[in-house]
């Protein structure tokens, strides 16, 4: 486990330097194109400044921005006890020092993601649709996958990569657009001010700058996608190891990918965070090279081919079985993992989740997240009271009994729970 984190740190550094060089080069070329004499350094400074500002923003508020874009709401254990239990189990299994915060997105499409640059202030977010569809073992698989992203520092790596990508795309876009609009005037200015020989040099720089400005974003994006795909495989491997039950994650992935609902709050920027690409209709048609996630069918196949145990070596064996001999995913240090992790039996309880049941529980979960109160009348009718209902009592529409509305109790429990967590 520790070796994997180290390998990840090394990779972050390499990535950081590679993309940094590309960024500096781009800044230099663009700068010297616009201002022929000494503009290159000015360009570098501007490029680094853009990168620095973006980094600062995402470092200090990264997860809160992402969470609010995704309309995720922080919830207390009363909303979904099982979810909290499973997160705590995985926290223990992964040896994470602090329990991550838990967020729910009130949408029917099943999906999940993890945020937090440091493991100490991380958060795990799931959709209401995920909770209503998955059984306990499957939910555990999903949470283990997300917990692996946190423990492996994947979020840090992907954030840095994303910022670099963003800066490179931004600068080339501005440059290419600027070129389009100002080509006439700047051309005239240059031809009159510079001598013949430096004009030729200017031409060369211009051609290189244009080619680089077109290529750099594409290359950076491909690099970004490749890293993103690899992180998904590694998180699957680690998730299987944490739960000791690869089938749980496999069947969860199957259920998530078989849903044809669109996750409305996801967009191109946040899509790589999710456990399964939420932008299905667009993602499916793209080639493998330009996809942020590996094909889900392949991930499921690998998890299901794991036999003999649930350690990294077993995952690597299953990986080469599915992807062809010689394909590697686990770094060499992880392959020394000879811990005997036997695949465990599925949990005994597991009432089948049929469609009607899933729909009803989805409604219940969404209402609980929205702070509805649930009152069961003596006649057996379950009433759902919206949080803006002000009267202390409510009349049962079926039998006419008056029921006490426990909003104050709920508020008291919620504030008490908050006090404990802080």
């Amino acid at each position: 486990m520790w070796e994997l984190i180290q390998a990840n740190r090394r990779k972050s550094m390499i990535l950081f330097v590679t993309m940094g060089i590309a960024l500096v080069l781009l800044g230099f070329l663009v700068g010297s194109y616009f201002i022929p004499n000494g503009g290159g350094f000015f360009g570098i400074i501007i490029a680094l400044f853009i990168w620095f500002v973006l980094s600062l923003i995402s470092y200090f508020s990264g997860s809160s921005i992402l969470l609010s874009i995704s309309k995720a709401q922080e919830v207390t254990p009363e909303v979904h006890q099982q979810l909290f239990n499973v997160v705590e189990e995985m926290q223990i299994a992964a040896n994470l020092p602090k329990m991550p915060k838990v967020y729910i997105i009130n949408e029917a499409a099943p999906n999940a993601f993890a945020t937090g640059i440091k493991p100490e202030n991380s958060a795990i977010t799931v959709t209401a649709g995920l909770l209503s569809r998955l059984n306990r073992d499957e939910l555990q698989g999903v949470i283990a996958h997300e917990m692996s992203h946190i423990v492996n520092r994947d979020i840090l790596l992907m954030t840095f990569a994303g910022i670099m990508l963003g800066s490179i795309v931004l600068i080339s876009e501005v440059f290419l657009r600027g070129l389009w609009f100002s080509s006439g005037t700047s051309g005239r200015y240059k031809s009159s001010s510079s001598s013949n020989s430096s004009g030729q040099g200017q031409m060369i720089i211009m051609v290189i700058a244009i080619i680089f400005a077109i290529l750099a974003p594409i290359l950076a994006q491909l690099l970004y996608f490749a890293i993103s795909r690899k992180r998904e495989y590694l998180a699957d491997a680690n998730g299987a190891r944490l739960t000791r039950y690869p089938e749980g994650l496999a069947s969860a992935l199957e259920k998530i990918s078989s849903s044809d609902l669109d996750l409305k709050v996801a967009n191109k920027v946040t899509a790589p965070m999710y456990i399964v690409n939420p932008l299905k209709k667009k993602g499916m048609k793209l080639a493998d090279l330009t996809s942020t996630h590996p094909r889900t069918s392949e991930r499921i196949k690998i998890l299901r081919s794991m036999s003999g145990g649930a350690n990294y070596l077993n995952y690597q064996e299953a990986f080469s079985l599915v992807k062809g001999k010689g394909s590697r995913i686990i770094p060499p240090s992880g392959l020394k993992d000879n811990s005997n992790i036997q695949i465990k039996q599925p949990s005994a309880e597991q009432p089948g989740i049929d469609k009607v049941k899933a729909k009803r529980s989805l409604g219940d979960i969404m209402m609980t997240v929205n702070k509805y109160a649930f009152i069961t009348c003596a006649c057996g009718l379950k009433m759902k009271v919206p949080p803006d209902y002000k009267q202390p009592e409510i009349v049962c529409p079926k039998c006419g009994r008056k029921n006490h509305v426990p909003f104050e109790d709920i508020a008291a429990i919620a504030s008490a729970a908050k006090g404990i967590n802080v």
């Binding site: 099982q82 239990n85 705590e88 223990i92 299994a93 040896n95 036997q342 005994a348 309880e349």
Partner: protein, 185 residues
């Protein structure tokens, strides 16, 4: 003069080595203790939940007095056990009694519809999982610590300052017993 300096440097170096080795041993022993307290919290939680469970199911399971009695006995034995090995054995028996009980529950659809029971079942399942996950990390820590105590040169220091080996928390499991034994004949 030069000789004296070399000797002093060597002595200082040796002292620093010993101090850092001693500190790392202390750190490892504390990690083992900490991992053990993690398990202990979960074991206590399970002991606290069981009376609630029995109270909830008593009305439904009038014909399963024996199963319930087994759980109660196993619980009180587990609560009285001292020492890692004894605790591990008693807790293993309690886990066995619990899993038998949850198999019997399948025959009582009324009970499985009871919200209170479902909440308790979820808590117990989760506690059971937490025990097994924290057991894993405890055993990892113990292995690391025991290795350090036995290996040269830290074994000398361990002997001098009375660092003793810790016991693994091993639960007798049916699955463990089924592992085929290799014989060299």
């Amino acid at each position: 003069m030069g000789f004296l300096i070399v000797v002093i440097i060597l002595i200082v170096f040796a002292v620093l080595m010993i101090v850092s080795m001693y500190n790392s041993l202390i750190k490892l022993r504390n990690q083992v203790k900490n991992a053990w307290s993690q398990i202990d919290v979960q074991l206590k939680r399970r002991h606290d939940l069981i009376p609630n469970l029995i109270e909830t199911v008593k009305g439904y399971m009038t014909h399963e007095r024996e199963t319930l009695q087994n759980i109660t006995n196993a619980r009180s034995q587990a609560m009285n056990a001292t020492g890692v090995a004894d605790k591990a054995k008693a807790e293993g028996e309690l886990s066995g009694a619990m899993s038998k009980f949850f198999l019997v529950v399948e025959n009582y659809p009324d009970l499985k519809a009871n919200q209170n029971f479902l909440a308790l079942q979820e808590e117990l399942t989760s506690t059971e999982n937490k025990i097994s996950f924290s057991r894993q990390s405890y055993n990892d820590q113990v292995l690391f610590y025991n290795n350090k105590i036995q290996m040269f040169p830290s074994n000398i220091l361990a002997g001098m300052f009375n660092f003793t080996q810790e016991q693994f928390f091993q639960v007798e499991d049916k699955a463990d017993r089924e592992v085929p034994k290799v014989s060299f004949q």
